[in-house]
């Protein structure tokens, strides 16, 4: 008995440690205390609830109902104390980065949208009192920042210009890191690498060559400044005709194996109908022959 315990014990502790390691989701210290740049007003929380039902409810369920998907590890119900123990910064980090089955949302939702979700999730915490990021910390830049986006058709490039207004003076912003993303069905797709603006505040990205857009090739593009500490949440959304024109064809438009019976493939209709007609034609011919046997007998009978 003692022997076996000795053998088992190390395994038990090892397993326990491992499990513990799995459960603990470490968030880098400097991100833990990160705060939302805006107040979680009712309309913000309303927005957040929409993002939540579209992106999160499928796994996390309705908060408070415990009806989350039975995944491994379990997605936590946001209404639980366990979940609400996370600081705003921790939730923001975990949603942005993801881990294992929890997807990373940093390319799906903008920083603004993730904060909106955080705001919504806090409605399930009665004790929560929001701390907003102090205005001084909103952007170290200390002014307003504006991004502009345009399509340079002759070079087929997408140009982003960053301008800042500080102390009543508008200047190009140099050496700011810009990321360009395009909206796709399942989240955003980053185009090219992130790039730094030149002294004129300009950065140019190669326009996508073969990306399907809408019927006239329009793509929904978003450019944002990566350094939030410096510039706050700064982004520009534009629709540009830089993609391939794509007219979607309904998969049920033409005759196909998977379509309704009225749109069955012709060859199949023919093959089926012909086979049935031939087989049953022969069967009826045989029945007719049987009748002939009877007729012969009847005729012979009437003669005798």
């Amino acid at each position: 008995m003692r022997w076996s315990l000795h053998l088992i014990l190390p395994f038990l502790t090892f397993n326990f440690l491992q499990l513990n390691g799995q459960e603990n989701w470490e968030v880098p210290e400097e991100r833990q205390g990160r705060l939302s740049p805006f107040e979680f007003s009712d309309s913000i929380q309303q927005q957040g609830s929409i993002h939540y039902s579209v992106n999160c409810a499928s796994c996390h369920g309705t908060p408070g109902q415990g009806n989350f998907e039975r995944l491994d590890p379990l997605p936590v119900d946001p209404a639980t104390a366990e979940f609400q123990e996370n600081t705003d910064g921790e939730i923001f980090y975990k949603v942005s980065e993801g881990r294992g089955l929890m997807p990373s949302f940093k390319n799906v939702l903008s920083a603004q949208e993730i904060w909106e979700v955080v705001g919504y999730l806090r409605t399930y915490n009665a004790d929560y009192v929001q701390e907003v990021r102090p205005t001084a910390e909103l952007s170290a830049y200390g002014g307003t920042v504006e991004l502009l986006m345009a399509h340079l058709t002759d070079q087929n490039k997408i140009q982003v210009v960053a301008k800042g207004t500080r102390h009543g003076e508008t200047q190009p912003i140099e050496a700011a890191e810009v990321a360009l993303r395009v909206k796709r069905y399942f989240g955003d797709l980053q185009l090219d690498e992130t790039k730094f603006t030149n002294p004129q505040g300009i950065v140019e990205f190669d326009a996508p060559q073969e990306l399907p857009g809408d019927e006239s090739g329009h793509l929904e593009l978003t450019a944002h400044l990566v350094n939030q500490e410096m510039f706050g949440i700064t982004q520009v959304d534009t629709t540009l005709a830089v993609g391939q024109a794509f007219v979607p064809v309904s998969l049920t438009r033409d005759r196909a194996m998977w379509n309704v019976v009225q749109k069955a493939p012709i060859w199949l209709l023919l093959a089926y109908t012909l086979s049935v007609l031939i087989a049953w034609g022969i069967i009826f011919y045989i029945l007719f022959q049987i009748k002939k046997i009877f007729d012969i007998g009847a005729e012979l009978e009437s003669k005798s």
Partner: protein, 467 residues
Amino acid sequence: MYKYTDTSITDNPKLDKIAKDLLQPVGLNIRFHIWMGLLTLGLMACLYAYWIQLNEGLIVTGLRDHVSWGMYLANFVFFVAASLIGMLISGILGLLGQEWIKPIARIAEIIAVAFAAVAGMVIVSDMGRPDRLPYVFMYGRIQSPILWDVTVVTTYMVISLLLWFIPMIPDMAIAKSRMDHCPKWLSFVYNILSLKWTHHPEQYKILFKATRILFILVVPTAFAIHTVTSWLFAVNPRAGWDSTIFGPYFLTGAFVAGSAGLIMAMYFFRNNYRLKAYITTEHFNKMGKLLFLTGLIYLYFNINEYIVPGYKLKTADAIHLKELLTGHFAPLFWSVQIGGLIIPLILLLFKRFRQPGILTIIAVFVFIASWFKRYLIVVPTMEHPYLPKQFLPQEWMLYQPTLIETAITIAPFILVLMIITVLSKLFPVVPIWEMAELGEQHEAHETHPIDESSLSDETDIKSHSDE
């Protein structure tokens, strides 16, 4: 136009004896009533189980979201398979001019009719809402193999029925004048079914033509019925079903099951109907060889079916094969493959194992193994869907048939036995006129030193001495 009546058959001196031998088991004696009574009792018990299922739904079975095709579907495939023997005997061997099949051809057709007729009902037992069956016809899609299956099973059943009935018309005429001991209504039925048969050559001509056309038609139809049944599985991209050889694989498997079934039926009729002179040891010998041949082809397809995915070992296939070969299906899998295929194949190589008694025992093993083989085709694949199964109740993970489900699975077998009993008790199971004809040929050939084509007329003792 028809001036005379052919008397070659009616004048045949052997006809009297043959007719007497073959009509002697016909009729509803006390044993028939007891047997049918027992079957009816069993059927009532099973119908009660079905009544429960009808009221409470499929939850009373072991079927759940993942395994939604359990024993019922295995049973359906088995029934379609067993019915194929009619085509193999009459269609293929008949067209090849094999004379020896004549005394057993009708038994094969009875099996075909019974199993094909019941197969349709088996599928209904898998439906939670059988009242929606008409929807298959109202809203069925012609693209679905299920619709094709319904079509071919029906067609095959009708052809089998005709193949059973048409060669029996002359027998009806022969029997109606000789059945003094039978009830009035039965001679009435005979009279109708004999269709005023007068053994006129013109009538024979039509009869031969009709059966010949049906022999040709039944071959593609039977191929279609079981190939389409296999497609119900093979059109799904799932491990264990996703195979291009499923059609021929099912077909040969069907011939194995059917041959075994026919051997069992032959043994029963030979002993209980005192037909030793007609269904001879040589017939068993030949059926043993047929079982060997079909079994060998089936083994070959089995090897293909497991080695090719086993070599590539795609993830899902690997899980599936592991379940079968070493997992929790392994005991069943190896019993079926070894006990139901490999050992029978080895034994059938020796003539002494193709004797009636021992061959029938082998056939029983093959027959039962054939049923479980269908189970092994249906269930393990369903237990492993592509999506991961997590945090599910245990009863969802592993399929466990319930008692009610088992009773509902047994019911079709009882129905088949009832149909076979009625058809074989009301009508001669061995064609009288064909036996008389064979006898005649035999006499004409008497001078030949060895004549293998006309074994059926020989007595049991004689064929023993031939060996």
